[in-house]
Amino acid sequence: MTPADPAIEAIFPPPRVDPDSDHWVRTLSGTGTEREEALARLHELLLKIANGEMRRRGGQLRISGPELDDLAYQAAADALLAILRKLGQFRGESRFTTWAYKFVMFEVSAKVGRHFWRNPAVPIDTEDWDRLADRFGLEPDREAERRDLAGAVRLAVDEHLTQRQRKVFVAIALNGVPLDALVVELGSTRNAIYKTMFDARRKLRAALAANGYLDDETSRHS
């Protein structure tokens, strides 16, 4: 682990690392047979978690069989590399395995995001505004309401969003591109795309409220 400032540690003592986690960190940081055995054991655990997670998400992925197994294997292998790279950052705030499994989730998400582009339903920048009503569950027979909703949102998008915010909003809200897939396509990060979408949502809601389409309250805590 990275050495900490003794003066700071005297005021804010680091969390106590449980014996199992301490064993993982010591053996993975070590050398020789002990380290090799720890690596093999961790890889086996990560693969089990990646397989379970791929199957948990399987329904939404349209992936199955050997392809799913292959993605799980890749996710486990890349998670292991990330864990070894970041081992010095483990502070014992959780069990080591919980911290390690987190990297499996990240890798599974990244693999699934990349996999989306093997068979995308629509291009990210197609602007078919009629889809918006479908996206928000308005039945085809409510034609006037569908037209109103699409028209109001499109006007707010035209008037209030930057080009980048428009691109992200159209891809996610109109075309149903998963956020992690958009991250891959735009060469960005999940945090940056989420922030762009967050700002777009906030601006659009304010505009629709100002035009009387939505309640004039800025947020609702649940």
Binding site: E93, M105, F136, L179, R190, F198
Partner: protein
């Protein structure tokens, strides 16, 4: 829920939302609190707000929680 109310729900933002980077930085801590039923959302309201709003982070949270609970069984 459909039409305007669904759109309203989609567009609403929570100012407490900490964003993906901070939520994912502490995800392992948050998940263990949830697994232990230790008022995770009260201790980390910004993370709770984010996980409600962000599909991908919510998915990572659900997966990690399932993994931790599965490992404990």
């Amino acid at each position: 829920m459909n039409g305007w109310s669904a759109l309203d729900d989609f567009l609403r933002t929570d100012p407490r939302d900490v964003g993906c980077a901070e939520a994912m930085e502490l995800l392992h801590v948050y998940v263990e609190l949830v697994a232990a039923d230790a008022s995770a959302a009260q201790r980390y309201p910004g993370i709770a707000a984010h996980l409600r709003a962000c599909g991908p982070c919510g998915e990572d949270f659900a997966g990690l929680l399932a993994a931790v609970r599965g490992a404990a069984e």
